[in-house]
Symmetry: C2
Subunit: 203 residues, 2 copies
């Protein structure tokens, strides 16, 4: 048949449900919300998980400072109100991606428990997976990949999480990834096995 | 092998590119930006296109008033500034979905040319497909599916597009869908054939 498929297009009433999208994709949508100190390994781990999932044909996408702070949230600064609004919007976008059947991975410090719990409350049970990237401050500060701790200690960055602003560790995270102790491969395997075990992706 | 796939997980350096995601999906990501009067058929057409694409295994998602106005943009009202910000944020989210390799379809009146052109400017050439859902005001008003024109004529809705606020028709839309003249099937076919012809999806 040389006819393009569009010849056979027929009009269907009714909307596509999330279940339809997930059935077509062969896996569920969810939000893996990475939280942890600067330098704890959130972005590195998010990118590695994205790669591991893509290699298995799973729809996935990383939301991070690079694609959010310079785009959707470029009107926001670092005041307490703006920080709240930053996380709120990211949560709403993560919800849209989840509804779209995508396993989206967010990599933001998101230091306040209340902000994270608000995002959790936006979503249905099971859609929000809080992954605590738990690395001791000393280790993060020693790594200091962006030189931010040095600047914060020198007083050049006000309200820097862990130094001059609090980090509120999760109390009921679905996953805790001790990136100061575990190897990269171990942390990645822990994440993927969690997704398999809970039925988000096929084993 | 009864081992879960996670046993074989190895750590890869390097990020997943949009090209990787598109290759895996077998189609490109883009934003189909439907614009037109209330009652012109944007949402109906968006939903039908979503269904037609999903049936072909294509990743797609509709952004509309239902999932945006009550979520991401629930803090926005209908002042000129808020309307601009509404469209700006939708454009940024559409860009994220496009980068994720999803054909996302937006269904908002988006009456101002400047707002739409700003969204176009956010994206790479070819990523933004403006689809003018062109239906005469008289037809839209006769349909009046939500009873909004009646209310607007009665002065109960201030600044209603087409009645008491302008609609600026696109000057360089990639597609014009005359929903007052064409059948539903024809409009849908026009959209799908466009996506095939331009190589967004396989023919």
């Amino acid at each position: 048949m040389s006819d393009p498929k569009s010849r056979n297009i027929v009009w269907h009433e009714g909307i596509v449900s999330r279940a339809d999208r997930e059935k077509m994709a062969g896996h569920k949508g969810c939000t893996i919300w990475m939280t942890g100190l600067s330098g704890s390994g959130k972005s590195t781990l998010a990118v590695a998980l994205e790669k591991a999932l893509i290699d298995r044909g799973i729809r996935t996408f990383v939301l991070d400072g690079d694609n959010v702070r310079h785009g959707l949230n470029k009107d926001l600064g670092f005041s307490p109100e703006d920080r709240n609004e930053n996380i709120r919007r990211i949560g709403e976008v993560a919800k849209l991606f989840t509804d779209a059947g995508v396993i989206n991975i967010t990599a933001f410090i998101s230091p306040y428990r209340q902000d994270r719990d608000r995002v959790r409350a936006l979503m249905a049970e099971g859609d929000f997976v809080e992954a605590y990237v738990d690395c001791p401050l000393e280790v993060c500060e020693q790594r200091d990949p962006k030189g931010l701790y040095k600047k914060a200690r020198a007083g050049q960055i006000p309200e820097f999480t862990g130094i001059s602003a609090p980090y509120e560790a999760p109390e009921r995270a679905e996953l805790t990834l001790k990136t100061g102790e575990m190897s990269k491969e171990e942390t990645l395997r822990t994440l993927v096995e969690f997704l398999e075990r809970k039925g988000y992706i096929p084993a």
